[in-house]
């Protein structure tokens, strides 16, 4: 169980993946007490889980911090909507074309950006993402429909829909008559999340993944070891861009609308936060981080003074008013403040993210009850504080 959270477990990948699948599919049950078991939010957990997992293949393994991954999210979204418009509302072609097009964008942007490393690489990716955003927002309005956003219309071609879907039928993505909204939409995204996590696990465990970790540790040494690092980093960049494209297309599968704001730099920053919050370089961390941030966004932004009144109703009246006034700064529109505090606390006290916290707790419990004492393992699983 604990190995699920560590950087490298030995075997039994399939078992871990099965465990993960059970946890994901059972989300409607165990998330209910947290008030998060509604499909809309769970869909977002899965979609941003995919986005962050892909981002972590680049950032977690190679250490290259891309600040422009939202560009691929947006490209995936636009491609998906265009596929809907041209081919019909089946999500499968939309997903495939989105992944391919996002991969091509990543190939071009990565090829140029990876000529530099460190902060210069980050700035280059940011610049490209902002260019994509501006192209989508204004320059390429005929393709992207500018600030209104791109949506599927009744008189679009939709080649394969025409015979089955009559006039005025709802423009919702569907497979075999099952509309990709609500719980079916969630399960569709959940299946893809599990598949993509499985793919990430294989990459982490492969010689390719090992080379990427070596890039992060000592790129100079790797070059003098006979490895051409550029194609390795480029491949990682393209793979993570394809993950982002997939996530972007899924957003349109559950809601066939693509807008330019999806490509803005704040969206690129969000996936960085998710990955760091959850635990860089771990399989499960970025997904936990994505879920935490989306949960905060939804739950805390929905709080208002009335709900706070309810929560603190046990306090005496004057005290309650004060507490409500202070806490109300951190909810509603101010939910970002709560997130900021959480982020600061985690980065300062748990540089390995939430997964490090879980690891420490797990080890504490094990030691407490004297089971599985293994000093060697302990050294391996806890990253150095300064990491």
């Amino acid at each position: 169980m604990l190995t699920l959270f560590t950087k490298s477990s030995e075997k039994s990948d399939l078992l871990l993946l099965a465990l993960f699948a059970i946890v994901v599919f059972a989300m409607p049950i165990w998330l209910a007490p947290f008030g998060a078991a509604y499909p809309d939010l769970m869909q977002r957990f899965a979609i941003f889980g995919i986005f962050a997992t892909g981002f972590n293949i680049l950032f977690g393994l190679t250490g290259y911090l891309s600040f422009g991954h939202a560009a691929f999210l947006g490209v995936g979204s636009y491609t998906a909507v265009w596929t809907f418009k041209l081919l019909g509302m089946n999500p499968i072609p939309a997903i495939i074309s989105a992944v391919v097009v996002a991969g091509l964008f990543a190939l071009v942007i990565g090829f140029i950006s990876l000529r530099r490393s460190g902060i210069y690489f980050s700035i280059l990716t940011l610049a490209f993402a902002q260019m994509c955003y501006n192209l989508a927002y204004s320059v390429l309005t005929p393709i992207t429909n500018g600030e209104t956003g791109l949506r599927v219309l009744q008189d679009d071609i939709r080649l394969f829909d025409a015979p089955t879907v009559g006039e005025g039928a709802p423009l919702i993505s569907h497979i075999g008559g099952i509309e990709m909204q609500g719980m079916p939409g969630f399960y569709f995204c959940a299946v893809l999340l599990i598949v993509m996590v499985g793919v990430a696990m294989r990459i982490f465990r492969s010689p390719f993944g090992m080379m990427l970790k070596a890039v992060k540790t000592n790129q100079t040494r790797l070059n003098y070891t006979g490895v051409n690092t550029r194609p390795y980093t480029l491949a990682a960049f393209v793979i993570s861009g394809m993950y982002a494209g997939l996530a972007g297309s899924l957003m349109c599968v559950i809601d066939p609308l693509a807008g330019a704001e999806r490509m803005q730099w704040t969206a690129s920053g969000e996936v960085v936060l998710m990955t760091i919050l959850g635990g860089v370089g771990t399989i499960i961390g970025p997904i936990i981080g994505a879920a935490l941030i989306k949960y905060f966004e939804n739950i805390f932004s929905a709080f208002n003074d009335q709900t706070l009144d309810g929560i603190f109703s046990f306090l005496p009246e004057p005290l309650k008013e004060g507490v409500v006034n202070v806490t109300s700064l951190f909810v509603g529109d101010g939910w970002n403040l709560s997130l900021g505090i959480l982020f600061v606390l985690i980065v300062v006290f748990l540089p390995g993210g939430v997964t490090e916290g879980l690891n420490r707790t797990g080890k504490f419990i094990l030691r407490r009850f004297g089971i599985g004492r293994d000093p060697e393992n302990e050294e391996k699983t806890s990253p150095a504080p300064g990491e």
């Binding site: 492969s206 010689p207 070596a214 790797l222 070059n223 070891t225």
Partner: protein, 251 residues
């Protein structure tokens, strides 16, 4: 005909003439030491062999083809492998991974998108790496990360990383710098042990004890030029060498 032929190499850094008309012939299978006082240009010369620096003029031929203009990974793939002055290792990875990476690079070339197989399933590579760790005496620590090792152990690890590639020419930049006498002797023994494999070696070294126990030939570099090249026994008594080193004091 040497396996490495260096002809009239010049390298200037601004006004500083780091290398002036350096010539070097390294015979296949021999151990060739390059010695000289600090700032003589030893490391600069080595950097010209591995693509870190490009000489202003002159040629560097390895096995009949030039090394100049090649990228570091291409030079490595050609069989020229270097041990650095400060050990360059993958400190966040396990010792076994440290040695498996060069083994993969040797087998798969400079790039291979091998993203679907488990590292552990490559048995031949794994066994080769384990064997190499055994040879340098680090087999017991193979699953530990290399960040907490002593400098001597790091050096031995780096040596294993280089040897696992079966290099044709091994460049050793001060392999015993900063080591205790015991570690130095262990390293000499190790280098002698691997000497039997026909790997040509170039050793840069300050420690004369190391140089005279290993080298077949010695080139003495001073102020960017080779002042003497000879067999060790003749170098010892050479006046030019003593002049270059300590202004006449005996070695």
């Amino acid at each position: 005909m040497g396996i490495l032929e260096v002809r009239d190499v010049n390298k200037n850094f601004g006004g500083l003439k780091a290398l002036q008309n350096v010539n070097l012939d390294v015979q296949e299978g021999s151990v060739h030491a390059i010695i000289g006082p600090n700032g003589a240009g030893k490391s600069t010369l080595l950097n010209c062999f591995i693509g870190r620096l490009t000489p202003d003029t002159g040629s560097v031929m390895f096995n009949g083809s030039t090394l100049l203009g090649l990228k570091p990974h291409e030079i490595n793939q050609a069989g020229v492998v270097r041990v650095f002055q400060t050990p360059e290792i993958f400190s966040e990875l396990s010792l076994l991974e440290n040695v498996m990476i060069p083994a993969f690079a040797k087998r798969d070339g400079s790039f291979k998108l091998n993203a679907w197989s488990d590292v552990g399933s490559h048995k031949a590579i794994r066994e080769k790496a384990e064997h190499m760790l055994e040879e340098v005496g680090l087999a017991d620590d193979r699953d530990k990360t290399s960040s907490s090792m002593s400098r001597g152990d790091k050096r031995r690890l780096e040596l294993a990383m280089c040897l696992v590639q079966d290099p044709v020419l091994l460049l050793l930049d001060e392999p015993t710098a900063g080591m205790s006498r015991a570690d130095t002797n262990a390293t000499i023994d190790l280098l002698k042990k691997i000497g039997g494999r026909g790997i040509t070696k170039i050793v840069i070294e300050h420690d004369m004890h190391v140089v005279f126990s290993l080298a077949d030939r010695i080139s003495v570099l001073a102020q960017g030029t080779v002042i003497v090249e000879d067999i060790p026994s003749k170098i010892k008594g050479n006046e030019k060498v003593q002049e270059a080193y300590l202004g006449g004091a005996h070695l």
